[in-house]
Symmetry: C3
Subunit: 341 residues, 3 copies
């Protein structure tokens, strides 16, 4: 069911190859020479496709699925529809992800510099780089091996782009050091000046924004997301962090490793997050706070004070998630009953 | 009062022509040969302009308006100022919209391919297409007749753009099929990979995003809005839907026909909306939900469960709008009185 | 500690020069010939750098700072660490900002028109303009002296750009008059049509958007922010206003002078703000409201009615900030106690 106009195809694999590649075990019997051509969801697959089931919630779809094979945890194997090859694994989703990439290899960068790209003669390009139409590479910029700068993207002066990093269409990077194997999505803005002014009795004045934006290795930055450079210290996105679309990261913000920041979140200036912090969609975090490692914040919450590591928070202002849930339930009652006063 | 540097002018019309074009009826007497040159608001119009009144709220502005003519519902006709030609109609705003377009015709696409555009030789271009400076059209892309790709916009490989569709300046479309008569505003991002990773005991892993973004006919997508492609199924925006600026639409989201999504809304992955759903500004909707047709959600609400068709909801989490209003009013009391406990 | 690859350096200044430039007074004794090379934060500075302390909150950092000199208010002077030159001033932050600019002069526009830029022959360019690679300047556009249009930015037909105004990389401006000394950040969208349709019994219809976007002098517009043009009247951003990243400004919105609009705020159509209004992050303001001068709205609030000048508001819907705080505190109690009913 994957549209081959948009996603390349590696060809077909036998059931035997699929079992080998995923480490799954065949439930019951099956034709090891049976051919499969791609992956699918439970609902949109046919006999030539492999799908997966991980969440009990989709058991009903599993029972009626027309997919030819399905990666499933042992507990659900007996509920498979007739004719389906049942592939037992403790990690169905991860196995599906691996298989999907094998059936549909990642896009390959069109190596070379497009004649309409504008590359400053002082820029240094690694081996096998790809620079698309209309892209601009500033003076003294350094692109690592296999860096991929897509069409109309603009890399500012002296910026470093790590090995294998891909800068999406129309993205802008300035005053920044970007690590290896990052993917900056289309329209992301990295390194512009932060909201840098102050007011005193004499009125408003601008503060020069003299820091950088540091994006460590293996980071993804979503479409149209904005990451301001530091005002004097640096803005830092830690290794392996995933940032969704339309997120705002203010100047001097520091994210640890492996943080997850969902769409439309805003993190105000100089706030620091530990490692593996998960911020759900549309959350706002005030400036100059410390958020400990492994904190989780529920969607649409507003964090206005520092939080120790490890807890879950929700609400505006954010409080421990249990208290917040109780608050919501009481509040609901409040909307139903006659007032007590 | 319309600035002719920015909006083209078709010339003048007589009162008689205006009555004919709108189907309105002249209240009292008036010079049918009187000439008008454009449209205006109640406040900024002069004797050569036509304005309209629909909402009772602006009656005061109507009484003091200097506009030469006004489209009004019958009930307000008697309150017109002296000298104003009063044009009676049951649909003043719609008549105004029609007249505005007649006085100021829509922008005309500059047909042809700009010499700085980069069009892959395998792309197929319909008749009368316009491709602006710096635009990029990928391999095997197909542009329908009268498609208009503005400056620096980038159309990815194999993308379909329907007849008469306009892709705004700097917009990016990939892995997508776009219908006819759509308008994608500047900076919109359509078809990039969704926030596609999962975590298990083995850590974080990426899930290949193998779906498409399908935009049906007559859709508008606002400036800097992001619509991710599906992960395996497709992301779909139904016919006639209107999406405002800075909206986030996650992977596999499906909108029915005629939905309205106001600025800064976020809809999480795999959520499905019926037809004519209206989502006001800044609303967040969680993933994997079903929102029925004709549902309306008040601004700044957070929807965390599926909603049957037809109702109005508000709050975080969103509840039926009546209960929400009562909650707000009780809460207000709570902020004023001494605590009851 | 400033990275000279990204920020230019003017050289060194003596302590005597620094005292002269800032008007600060030396506390105790010090070597007036001592040389300084740049500015720093309290934490990341060394003996060759000047830092500042204004907020009591950072006193601890001050006491352990290794910076060679620090601008401080008189009250804190005695707590300086040994070896630090203490520069007494009532306005440390403002003095720091001045000094930072002297050590690190602002970026200089690369004057001239890049050969890959597309400038319509009817456009009029002032003296000393800079037009970057891939930028597009439409017919009849007018650029004031020293205007700077960065790479891949697109200026629409007839647009006016004032003296010394900088249009960031990939920004789009159409149907607009931009004043002098503005800075429009990368990816901002100014002048596209507003969310301009209406519904009546006959269905949905588009309303031609015939107004303009007017940006007065000395305005900053953040990265990926969207400012729609007026529908018939104009959208106006008053002189000296500061707008952060990812903000949405609807059609016909009017901001007075010196307003501050923080990231991810949304202001709906036809709402008017007075002067010096401060809207904190993620606030939503409904349409057709009047917000008086000097109003302040707390982060994540939702304003659904007009507000007289001078007050502070918070909450959804926004109420006077004191009442809102009381509400939060009562609500917190509600989440802790047994229900009263």
């Amino acid at each position: 069911m994957v549209d081959s106009r948009f996603h390349s195809e590696a060809g077909q694999f036998t059931l035997e190859q699929i079992l080998e590649m995923t480490g799954a075990k065949l439930h019951g019997s099956g034709d090891l020479a049976r051919l499969f051509y791609g992956v699918s969801t439970l609902n949109n697959g046919g006999e030539k496709e492999v799908t997966f089931l991980e969440n009990r919630r989709y058991l009903k779809d599993f029972r009626t699925s027309k997919a030819g094979a399905c990666l499933v945890p042992p507990a659900f194997a007996n509920q498979a529809p007739d004719g389906m090859a049942v592939l037992i694994t403790a990690i169905p989703r991860r196995s599906y992800a691996k298989l999907a990439r094998l059936f549909h290899p990642a896009e390959i960068a069109p190596i070379g510099v497009h004649p309409t790209a504008v590359v400053d003669p002082t820029a240094r390009l690694g081996n096998q780089v790809a620079i698309g139409p209309g892209a601009v590479i500033g003076a003294e910029a350094v692109l690592g091996d296999s860096a991929w700068i897509e069409a109309n993207a603009v890399i500012g002066e002296a910026v470093r782009i790590g090995e294998g990093t891909r800068i999406g269409v129309g993205a802008v990077v300035s005053h920044a050091l970007i690590g290896a194997r990052c993917f900056i999505y289309p329209g992301a803005r990295i390194g512009q000046p932060g909201f840098g002014f102050e007011m005193d009795a004499g009125g408003t004045f601008l503060i020069p924004q003299l820091g950088r934006a540091i994006i460590e290795d293996d980071v993804e930055v979503g479409a149209n997301t904005a990451i301001d450079r530091g005002s004097n210290a640096d803005t830092v996105i830690g290794q392996g962090s995933m940032i969704d679309n339309l997120v705002q990261i203010g100047h001097n913000v520091v994210l640890g490793r492996g943080c997850i920041v969902v769409s439309q979140v805003g993190i105000s200036g100089s706030t620091r997050l530990g490692d593996r912090v998960v911020i759900a969609g549309k959350v706002g975090i005030a400036g100059h706070l410390e958020i400990g490692s492994d904190v989780q914040v529920a969607a649409m919450s507003g964090v206005n004070r520092s939080l120790p590591g490890g807890g879950s928070y929700g609400g505006v202002p954010a409080i421990p998630v249990r208290k917040w849930r109780r608050q919501i339930s009481r509040l609901k009652k409040l909307g139903q009953n006659k007032p007590t006063a």
